[in-house]
């Protein structure tokens, strides 16, 4: 249940919604990029192994 935020409800809710979205976004981008780079490194190492 949302507390009574009075006349500043829009300001407070906007701050919480946007800030939490930013935090979730930075975590998601970081994890996605990490997985992508790990997979790329594995592929390059496999190619390197095959080229030997």
């Amino acid at each position: 249940m949302i507390p009574d935020l009075g006349k500043y409800a829009i300001e407070v809710l906007t701050v919480y919604a946007v800030s939490i979205a930013m935090l979730v976004g930075v975590v998601a981008i970081t994890l996605h990029r990490s997985r992508k780079v790990k997979a790329r490194l594995a592929a390059v190492e496999a190619m390197q192994g095959g080229a030997k």
């Binding site: 701050v15 800030s19 930013m22 970081t30």
Partner: protein, 241 residues
């Protein structure tokens, strides 16, 4: 055993990888508790009404915006003095997190400022130095992207980081230096008289801990990613030659 052993990229990854899930889930839990406490279970301020709840996001993000730059400064100095690649990559990895924290601090400050000060923005010493710090973050990231040779990029960005530190310090102490502008002095203080009331202070402390844990988790993941990218680059160059 020396701390410099962790400057070995392989050692850094094997040591930090098991820590990351603990830090990340710890950050989510602590932030969840702190924000829930602050949003649902703290009273309104007598003067500021419910906008005081913005405090739990504004203060930690502003603190982190400055402290991330301080961490980048330490890593940059280590790079310049000892030439450990992991430290340069850690500084590079931290910068985008610092940008997010700075945007969050500026955004939450603007939304908070409108009803309390009657304006979204003022060319106040603290706000202005914060905006310049944000521009330094962007310049730092752009400089890394613009220079192909990684060692040269690390050298130049380290120097930029040292120069930008002036604005990181100003962002923190501008109110005390100039004693003017709309922004009040630090809300949090070890001095009980100056510090905010305990009812706001405790949830804020939990939120700050959550932001610190989140930063640690993200910077470790991103540094490991930068190390892997460096390895990919080295392997691809070896395959081409």
């Amino acid at each position: 055993m020396s701390i410099w052993e962790y400057a070995n990229p392989k050692k850094f990854i094997t040591t930090t990888t098991p820590l990351v899930p603990w830090l990340l889930w710890g950050a989510i839990a602590v932030l969840g508790v702190g924000l829930t406490w602050g949003f649902f279970f703290t009273p309104d301020d007598a003067r500021q009404g419910s906008t005081v709840k913005i405090f739990y996001l504004h203060v930690p993000s502003a603190m982190m915006a400055i402290n991330v730059w301080a961490m980048m400064l330490m890593a940059s100095v280590i790079w310049l003095v000892r030439r450990h690649h992991v430290s340069a990559l850690a500084a590079k990895a931290a910068a985008p997190i610092g940008v997010v924290m700075t945007i969050m601090a500026l955004f939450t400050g603007a939304i908070w400022g409108q009803p309390i000060w009657g304006t979204w923005w003022a060319w106040d010493p603290r706000l202005t130095s914060f905006l310049i710090l944000f521009l330094f973050y962007l310049g730092y990231i752009a400089l890394w992207a613009a220079i192909e040779d990684p060692d040269t990029a690390a050298d130049l960005t380290s120097v930029l980081c040292i120069v930008g530190s002036v604005f990181a310090i100003l962002s923190r102490y501008a109110v005390n230096f100039w004693n003017q502008g709309l922004h009040q002095p630090a809300s949090l203080s070890l001095d009980k008289e100056e510090n905010v009331a305990d009812v706001f202070w405790y949830p804020a402390l939990v939120c700050i801990a959550g932001f610190v844990l989140l930063f640690l988790a993200l910077v470790l993941i991103r540094t490991a990613t930068e190390i892997r990218l460096r390895r990919i680059r080295a392997l691809e160059m070896r395959m081409r030659s």
